[in-house]
């Protein structure tokens, strides 16, 4: 461990090796919040869904909003990481690991929400006994299970060289590192095996990720409910998912950069590139939102208009216009202005986008259920303390699992950073030269 202190990348080992009071303090608070949400859930289990704000009309509330939101956030990771790896974007190296961890953790939390929404969790087994693949709900189950498996494998395989490094150079959790490293010693053959597996995984994971949020959009768009029955819901949901995921990744990067002093690894250039991605997705999201509403308004179908009015000028107008401000106006103002596009500005925008995207899920789900086609009395949906508690519990669980991960594994891929230093520069130079016109040919033509 002593020689590790002289390692140029000691900063990346430090969170694992050194004790940190702040870590214990944060874990205690998070465990307390999770404990409270477990208590509230047990209460719901005992008394049923009557402890929630759900009613005869609005049968999907906070739990399904959070389900769609968390699964959306999961797109940050694997998708962005796979695209950056495939396109050989050299600046990806300190980012990919964090992105992949977000995916794995958030998928667990998102996947729990439909079970919470069941009220009777024992009925989950009916999916296995009597499931029918004609239902988009079952498509969700299969798509999320596949995505979770693929993204966990995609997180783990590139981590093996780092786990082997920890096995050889630390004394903590050695048995775990031995078990997880599978005897990796960095031989040429082992490197080849990992590279081969990673190249298959990064191609495989992209269509799986895209299919997941498309299928999630189908649970709404396959119904004839006003405001849901739309053909663009698939790409609209995927765009929103990547947008919220990118914002979450930026928040995580900024938080852990500050907490573990990773300024030398997560440089301003990384935030600048990521913020360009955020701006692109902001514009794409705005385009889809505009398109979705314009089509509805132009059609002027009475029930569709009732839902649209409810969102634009009715009870949900404050949420709708907050969403537009947070997802479009603020990103546009901050990310196109050099003075405002600082790390603090990007953090502010990203937090706004996360809130805005959560509001978007709320606006998609609740107004359509409130304004039914049946002549029922409009029932307002007011989430109860149970729902708020479980929402906070979900966020706390995300923070806790991420913190624990950072104490056991490096948050930045050490081998990829070293690989970048050793070979990446030459590789990038060679690649750049291959993009440019051949100088000899150009000079020959000039003569």
């Amino acid at each position: 461990m002593d020689d590790l202190r002289h390692d140029p990348d000691y900063t990346l080992f430090r969170p694992i090796l050194e004790k940190d009071r702040r870590f214990l303090w944060m874990v205690s608070v998070l465990v307390g919040l999770i404990g409270w949400s477990i208590y509230m859930y047990l209460r719901q289990w005992k008394y049923g869904l009557s402890v929630t704000g759900l009613n005869n009309n609005v049968t999907w509330g906070f739990y399904i909003i959070n389900f769609v939101f968390f699964i959306g956030v999961s797109h940050a990771g694997t998708l962005i990481s796979a695209i950056l790896r495939l396109s050989q974007a050299e600046w990806r190296r300190p980012i990919t690991r964090m992105a992949e961890v977000i995916t794995a953790i958030v998928l667990i939390i998102g996947g729990i929400h439909p079970i919470i929404d069941l009220g009777r969790p024992d009925r989950l087994m009916n999916v296995f006994y009597y499931g029918r693949l004609q239902s988009p709900l079952l498509w969700d189950v299969t798509a999320i299970t596949t995505y979770f498996t693929a993204s966990t494998v995609y997180l783990y395989v590139p981590m093996i060289p780092d786990i082997a490094l920890l096995r050889d150079r630390t004394t903590k959790f050695r048995w775990l590192y031995k078990f997880l490293s599978w005897g990796y010693r960095g031989t040429e053959r082992q490197k080849h095996i990992l590279e081969r597996a990673m190249s298959i995984l990064m191609v495989l994971v992209i269509p799986v990720a895209v299919s997941v949020h498309t299928v999630i959009s189908y649970i709404f768009s396959m119904t004839l409910q006003s405001g849901w029955h739309s053909t663009i819901f698939g790409p609209y949901f995927v765009t929103g998912a990547i947008y919220s995921g990118t914002a979450t990744l930026l928040v995580v990067m900024i938080a852990f950069r500050k907490m573990y002093h990773l300024e030398n690894y997560l440089k301003e250039i990384h935030f600048r590139y990521m913020s360009i991605l955020l701006l692109v997705f902001s514009l794409l999201w705005t385009y889809f939102t505009f398109s979705e509403f314009l089509t509805g308004v132009y059609g002027n179908e009475p029930m569709e208009m009732k839902v649209i009015r409810f969102k634009l000028t009715g009870a949900y107008a404050p949420y709708f216009w907050s969403m537009v401000t947070l997802n479009f106006l603020i990103p546009l103002i901050v990310l196109t202005n050099k003075k405002l596009k600082t790390i603090k500005g990007i953090l502010f925008t990203s937090i706004g986008v996360i809130i805005g995207m959560w509001l978007e899920r709320l606006i998609i789900i609740v107004p359509s259920l409130t304004n039914t086609r049946l002549p029922l009395v409009v029932q307002a949906y007011i989430p109860s303390l149970t729902e708020w508690s479980l929402f906070i519990g979900g966020i706390s669980m995300f923070c806790l699992l991420f913190l624990i991960f950072s104490k056991v594994f490096p948050l930045i891929s050490i081998w990829e950073i070293r690989d970048g230093r050793a070979e990446g520069l030459e590789e990038a130079k060679g690649r750049l030269e291959s993009y440019l016109p051949d100088r000899a040919v150009a000079e020959g033509r000039a003569q």
């Binding site: 296995f128 029918r132 693949l133 498996t149 093996i160 490293s181 010693r185 082992q190 597996a197 298959i200």
Partner: protein, 88 residues
């Protein structure tokens, strides 16, 4: 000194690793079994058989492929751990 502290033997690590590969395949077989059950149910009910078959044909190879990749990595890494190795 580091070796003296080791409480977990290499045999136990190997046992854990064999168990994990086995569990991966148990999971894959369970998923396939479940999907086959869905196909037979849709057939029995004459309910969306084509869609069921199409979705099933997508899911099953994906899980087999993922388990195959993991097995390839795990077995490959263990087998080649001493090749070209200075410390071996």
């Amino acid at each position: 000194m580091m070796e003296k502290r080791e409480k977990v033997t290499p045999q136990f690590i190997l046992f854990l690793q064999i168990m994990s590969i086995s569990l991966i395949w148990v999971l894959v077989v369970s998923v396939i079994w479940w999907v086959l059950n869905l196909i037979s149910l849709s057939n029995y009910l004459h309910d969306a058989q084509n869609a069921t078959l199409a979705i099933s044909l997508l899911i099953m190879p994906l899980f087999v492929l993922l388990a195959g990749i993991l097995t390839y990595v795990f077995v490959g890494l263990r087998r080649n751990r001493f090749e070209d190795d200075e410390h071996a």
